[in-house]
Each structure stands twice: as C-alpha cells, then as structure tokens.
C-alpha cells in the first residue's frame, strides 16, 4: 500500500524534523481539504472569508501539533485534519457571529486594522492564478449542482476518505443505500461533465 506507507512515512519524517515532508503532506491533502472545508463552512462564513483562510489555519495547526498525532491507519491523518478544520471553522464562525474578526489571528497580514503585520505578497501571475482557481471552482460548481444527498456521499467518500461503512454510519443509511447514492451521484456528475463539454 504505497499511500499508506507514504502518509506514515511523511508524518514520521516531519516529526523527525524534515520540514519538506510537510510540504508533501500539504500537496497530498490540500485539494481534498479545500473541498471539504468549502462544504463544512456555512454560506455566511464563505461570504466572509475564503476557504484558503481556513486552510491556512488548519495546516498551520497541523504543523504545530503533528507531534501529538499518532498514525493509526490509512485515513487517520485525513480524519485528524478534518477535525482540526471543524475547530478552526467553529472558531471562525464564533468570531464572525460576535462581529469581531480576529484579524490579527486569522489574517495576520498588514491592513488598516493590523498595521504592523506582514504584507500580503502577490507572487502569482493572473493566468496561473485564474487557472488554479478555475479548476477548483469548476469542481465545486458541478458538486453544487448535484442533489444534496448525492453530493454528501461523494464528498465523504472522495474528499474525506471515509469507507462506505463509515459513510453509512455518518448519514444514517445502509451501506447498500450509500453505494447506490454514490453510483447515482457519479452518474449525474458525469452527465454534468458531458453537458459542460
């Protein structure tokens, strides 16, 4: 199992001081986490901050707390990242609801309210930026177009990496029902792909 070995090795390498290993963890999980965070965030929260704001906090917390993480099985790192995301989103929503953004904690970059923070750096060319954003946005647009119950099982299976048994427990349906929803969801997703050209 390459993936299992790889994730375990990356975690152990990072714990051993190999910071490059965390870059590989990031690359491996960031797209799934971006989709997952998007759907974990409320519409209100998405209107107030970007998915990357949350992702930044999630991966920073993961890097900071990795020594406390114990690899138990394939999927355990994703589950851990998902729990961190839950906490970060909860914190963000709490502060949003209170109407006082922790700008100095969530967005530590220079702004009127945080004049001593580091400046944001725009190092990306517009074309590359657009292409990157577009691939994620196209995916989200297609997922958004699916019926909610189809989308839910796809997100849980594909992006949270749950087994069909775990999904069935999460959504309260039989494993067979989950399998059928997954099938119908993917069929619909494929139709959306075809219609999009």
């Amino acid at each position: 199992m390459d993936g299992q070995t790889s994730t375990y090795d990356l975690v152990e390498r990072f714990k051993g001081g190999d910071t490059a290993a965390f870059g590989l963890v990031f690359r491996k999980y960031q797209r799934s986490m971006a989709v997952l965070v998007h759907y974990k965030m409320s519409a209100e929260l998405r209107g107030a901050m970007e998915v990357d704001d949350i992702l930044q906090e999630v991966f920073l917390a993961a890097a900071r707390d990795m020594k406390q993480f114990t690899y138990q099985s394939p999927g355990s790192l994703m589950a851990w990242l998902s729990r961190i995301a839950d906490h970060v989103i909860m914190d963000a929503a709490r502060y949003l609801n209170r109407g006082k953004r922790r700008a100095e904690e969530l967005l530590r970059f220079r702004s009127e309210s945080n004049p001593t923070g580091p400046e944001p750096v725009d190092s990306e060319t517009p074309s590359r930026l657009f292409a990157r954003e577009e691939t994620v946005q196209i995916l989200l647009k297609k997922l958004d177009a699916l019926p909610a119950e189809y989308r839910e099982v796809i997100v849980l299976a594909k992006f949270e990496g749950l087994t069909t048994k775990e999904i069935s427990e999460r959504v309260g349906k039989s494993r067979e029902s989950v399998a059928l929803l997954l099938h119908r969801g993917l069929k619909r997703f494929r139709e959306l792909e075809a219609s999009a050209g």
Partner: protein, 126 residues
Amino acid sequence: MSKENPRKDPEAMAGGAEKTSEKERAIAEALAAYVDRLSLEDTVDIDAFCKATPGLEKELRSLLESLNEMDGSSPASSLGSVREAGEELPDTLSGHKVLGEIGAGAWAAFCWASTNGWGGRWRSRR
C-alpha cells in the same frame, strides 16, 4: 431486501424514484468496493479492477474515471507551486527568513519561514 420494510429498502433509502436494477446494484457494489480501497490509501489499477466485473466494465470505468478526475488533471499540475518556473523565492519576507515553499492553495502559497518557532508564513493573495 425486504419490500415490506421500506426503511430498509435501498431504493427508498437512496431517496430516488429511480428504479434500482440488478445491474445498478452490481455497479454500486463495485463502486463501494473501489471507494473502500481508496480509503485504505490503496493504489488501485482501474483496468484490473474493471476486468474483475465482467459485463459492467465500460460503465464502471467511466464512473471511476469521473471519480479520479476530481483530483484535478494531475497531482503535479494541480498541486504544484504557484510560482512560475525559474522564479525564486525571496530570501526574506516581512523580516522572516524564507526557508521554502510548502505548497499552494487555490489562491495562495504557503511557505516555511524562520521565526522563533513554526509561526512564520506568508501567502500570496489576489
């Protein structure tokens, strides 16, 4: 599957008015098996996997390909550095020594930077 108990009927549970055929059940089960292997971070050979479900190969393959396409065109292209080829990271940024790029999100790049701990980072934003 008991038809007397609609709560346990996957047709009803799946929520669709769509008729569930034996073929659909077989494809759904194969899909579930594939997803379960992915959750184990198992590398699955789609060709071999589809060949193990004779008669359903074509439809199953198209669904598995759709599932895999959600990863983006390729790990390298979708998750690679947001910096242009040949473009070097700055040595310092906002007083922090930049150690290297962690990776890039859809709108941002994340870097290691030395401070008094793990705290240093920067990102690009639109």
